[in-house]
Amino acid sequence: MTTATHHEPAAIGHEAPHLEHFEDLEKQAHASRLGMWIFLATEVLLFGGAFALFASYQVVFPEAFRYSIHHNAKLLGSLNTGVLLVSSIFVAAAVHALRGGRSKLAAWLVTATMALGFAFLGIKSIEYSRHFAEGIFPGGVGSFFQEHRGPGFPEFWTLYYGMTGLHAIHVTIGIGVLAFLLAGIVRGKLTHVNSHRLDIGAIYWHLVDVIWIFLWPLFYLA
């Protein structure tokens, strides 16, 4: 990479300075962020519906939910919270590094974010396999539900697999988005000139973190 790459819009290719139907790059960046926020609003409603369902079952089956939360893998779930929080800090730092023209640092920070995303999925799969070994499967299937016959147990664990599984899908998509953006940074197509594109990916990654921030206390702590 030559030293001139960072400050020469011509090196960015056809993506700079801005798409022709936008007046300038600032307006294009604003439009992309607004589009992302509208998408995130629909994500809030998707997960919000699931959270509402969880809350209503918790009111109806307080004992089964309390028992199941204590039974859950608290240490692994808490560790995963830390993993996602640190990944959010890394990707926020990456955005500012790229804006400041430090592409190499930004690339490393995005790589670290993705690595933590994989770590999250790894810990999650250890957690799932432990529950499978305990005879806990979605839909109230497994030996656990022979020993814990009351209603509320299938509801809790089905929501556990459903909501954490939906979240894990989002983490996976987030890693893919970051990989795409990382390729842009490494190839010099994504720099401080059009750094708003990294903003969009980072905002999505942060939303995935925010959802986990609420999943953690509900399924593991309280």
């Binding site: 609003a41 809030v44 509402a52 959010s88 921030i213 206390p217 702590l221």
Partner: protein, 105 residues
């Protein structure tokens, strides 16, 4: 100034998030009774606001941008309020606690 890559808002948000994470984890070992869920959710809400405001930078965006998230929050509030109203006004819960049938012998 080029050596200063990260605004202080990002640094301090990161520090606050880690501190709140540890606080929430520590408090989960304290028996707070029914307040435990409320305390954990309040801490979660503070963390979420920090991430949305300073990492997702919504604090610096114009109002129309904030409106997207606010409208989702409003719709969610309506959903939860109506659902709660339904739950507390039912004469009999539709999903009764399980009663084991008397053993037949």
């Amino acid at each position: 100034m080029s050596s200063v890559a990260f605004p202080r808002s990002v640094t301090w948000t990161g520090v606050a998030l880690i501190a709140l994470w540890l606080a929430s984890f520590g408090l989960s070992f304290v028996d707070l009774g029914d307040a435990a869920l409320v305390v954990a959710l309040v801490i979660a809400a503070v963390k979420a606001v920090l991430v949305v405001a300073f990492f997702m930078e919504l604090a610096y965006e114009p109002f129309p941008m904030k409106l997207a998230l606010l409208s989702a929050a409003a719709m969610l509030a309506i959903l939860i309020a109506l659902m709660a109203a339904d739950l507390v006004t039912r004469d009999t819960p539709p999903l009764l606690p399980y009663r084991a049938p008397a053993p037949q012998s």
